[in-house]
Amino acid sequence: MDCTSCDTVPPRPDRPHTFIAHAPDTCPTCALPGEARVVLRDGKVVHLLRCTACGPQEREVHANAQTWMQEFLAKGVVPEGLTGDHLFKHTTSTCPQCLALVPAEVVIRKDRVFFLKDCTRCGPSEALVSEDASYYVKAYSFARAGTQPLIFRNTAEHGCPTDCGTCDDHEQHTCLPIVEVTDHCNLECPICIVDNNYSKHMEPATFQKIVDGLVEAEGVCETIALSGGEPTSHPQILELLKIASRPEIGRVVLITNGIRLGKDRDFAQALKDLGVYIGLQLDGFTAEVHTQIRGKDLVKEKAAALAMIDELDLPTQLIFVATRGVNDHQIGQVVELFLSKPQFLSLNFQPVAYTGHGGGTFVHDPMDRLTIPGVIRHIDAQTGGKVGYTDFFPLPCSHPQCVSLTYLLRLDDGTSVPFARFVDFEKHATLLRSSATLPATSEVEDALADVIHEVFARQDEIERGPEILKALRRCLDEMFPKQPLSAREQFRASERQSKSIFLHHYMDRHDFDLERLRKCCHHYPQIDGKIMPACGFNMFHRGAAKGPETPRAKFGRAPFSLPVIT
């Protein structure tokens, strides 16, 4: 059945609380120190702890969640005249040397945010985590309750991050499953965040079990991504894509460097026929940039892939790994390219994470790196404000420090306008609540009705107001035409109405933040049935957090190393 939201699928339940942050605390029973989840529940603030001696514990720490939140955000305001570090909060990070979990002070220094750590074995270290303290602090106000999968694959026993898989203490379901179907690759990227051993192509039967498991755990998946390695090097990649193309999965994305796509027309046509979406790595436009980031000049290969996408009208996400001093000057160029073609549905900036076979040893300065606000500033400056700093908002689906997002409405003349120019996202947080695309829920429909009326009422004050109204009308006509569409056709129609630019900052040993991992929603499903939050897997399981041969954590499970789920 051609359906992505079948009524027979039970809806995923919301978490019973809104997870905000981690905070140090002690067990209410035995006073053993531990790290609490700070959650808002029934208008109150509660600390949830998993004491190693007493088990799950909780204590109410404030009777009024709203007041507490205001006080929490106020801690992020630096007192006037203070020139030194201002302590905002505490969390748990990792020692960049030995990778042990260590307490971290989150401090504001000259409008930027740093982690201050002191490993008992390796000594003190510091790391930049945000280039804009105001953005960082305010992001917490966007936190919303997550939803939980229908089935957790693990039970919380020892606490985060040792129980991954995901455990029942995890605060978000799997929004984006990324299945690494091979560890073969046709590039050796200096910024590679995985650790390819050229040992395994996933069997179709195994992939089938992973997909079945995902559907069992999630009911429906908006998207599934196939990654690697380079997934197009898998000899049965089309078979895997067919397996993933099922009614419960809305969108199948093939994440690729584009080399095969650009030169194998039959393959590209097969992707088109399967309705597959392309996730094309495109980190720049010059030989120098490609060589520094991907290890070789890929100008011709990327041009060929883009030409194929254009020719076959393949729906595409562009993925740009942004690196300080290497390709940050080409950020505006990729935005302009993205805005120029209707088949580019989204643009994903990833400030580089210094982890993995390549990334772990990539030359970098943890005190001077690109973070989400830095990339947004480049977007603003290099597009002349066409897409501006204030157009972006934290996405509450994941931890609000993980992803920032803007939607752009396609106007009838082919140009785009950021939603933030005509939508008050602080008022209509629902539109940011659950994912990087707008789901067709009654909540979203309600919010959109408000948006339409507000633009209607203020059309003379809003820049391009009448054009925005015309575009909104076109959206309705194309999404709800006189002849009814199948659910899949409607899905396709809706995604052509707007574009999104989102920034996802994966973590590394410098800026790792356990509370971000707690609400991670980008997961790597494994052959043993576990569903592993991405940054935790990169840090503790791959054995490559500092480059090849990094010792794996005691609780680590290497990819392809465990028995296949039965």
């Binding site: 009705a449 408000d450 009326h453 507000e454 209607f456 009422a457 203020r458 059309q459």
Partner: protein, 245 residues
């Protein structure tokens, strides 16, 4: 006063029920703007009567089918007063003609004036009401649109359409503090009932508990109340003013 400090826009305000609505709203404290199509002298007389009673009003020669003209008028009122609180979609007319003799043009003109006119006037004014998070929209229907009566089919159809227009719009914009109601008069002593065949009026009186036709003022009083802040929880309703038929 029911409408003190309010700004009202009434369509078809120069004569008949429209004039009565304008006068009543003005008497209840509203500034009243109205449009009209043809009758300059009647429009001027309406304004003069209101002003003679100490009220404030303005007349505007714009068709209810002139979308751009209505938008400009709404913008001008908004600019002058900073708001438009009340819209009364009254513009309309009666025509006695059986279906067998009805021309396509009769049908179109009747439906356009009553229904499309209400749509265009509402769309022009609604943006101000949404912005202000307040509004009272009153559509002037008819008993002919609610009950089975001997009435011209196109007229009954148009008035019934206004009932649907009322209910649907009430749902759509209720979240902005805007109410949308329909007032459906029976036969009145002036206005569109003027030219009814005597037999129809007699039949109406036989079934009417009040044993008389209504007055323009009685209908206008109900409209003024529904247009006031006091009718804050009445929304999507069709209120019949017919002496119990």
């Amino acid at each position: 006063m029911l409408c003190a400090g309010k700004v009202a826009f009434v369509t078809g305000g120069s004569r008949g029920l429209g004039r009565a609505i304008c006068k009543t709203l003005a008497k209840e404290g509203a500034f009243v703007a109205f449009n009209y199509l043809k009758h300059d002298a009647d429009a001027a007389a309406t304004v003069a009567e209101i002003e003679a009673s100490g009220g404030r009003a303005s007349a505007h020669k714009v068709s209810v089918l002139d979308k751009a003209g209505l938008v400009e008028l709404a913008k001008a009122l908004d600019k002058q007063h900073g708001k438009i609180d009340i819209l009364v979609n009254n513009a309309g007319y009666g025509q006695v003609v059986p279906l067998a003799l009805m021309e396509e043009s009769d049908w179109d003109e009747m439906l356009d004036t009553h229904v499309k006119g209400a749509f265009l006037a509402t769309q022009a004014v609604l943006r101000v009401m949404v912005r202000e998070r307040y509004g009272r929209i009153v559509n002037v229907g008819s008993l002919a649109g609610v009950k089975m009566m001997q009435a011209p089919v196109h007229y009954a159809t148009a008035k019934a359409a206004l009932k649907g227009f009322t209910e649907s719009l009430a749902k759509e914009v209720g979240r902005y503090g805007i109410t949308v109601n329909c007032v459906a008069p029976g036969i009145l002593d002036e206005g569109v009932s003027d030219h009814l065949p005597p037999g129809r009026k007699e039949e109406y009186l036989r079934h009417c508990a009040a044993r008389r036709v209504g007055t323009l003022t009685e209908a206008a009083d109900m409209i003024a109340f529904i247009a006031s802040e006091r009718a804050s929880y009445t929304n999507g309703a069709t209120l019949v003013v017919d002496g119990a038929v």
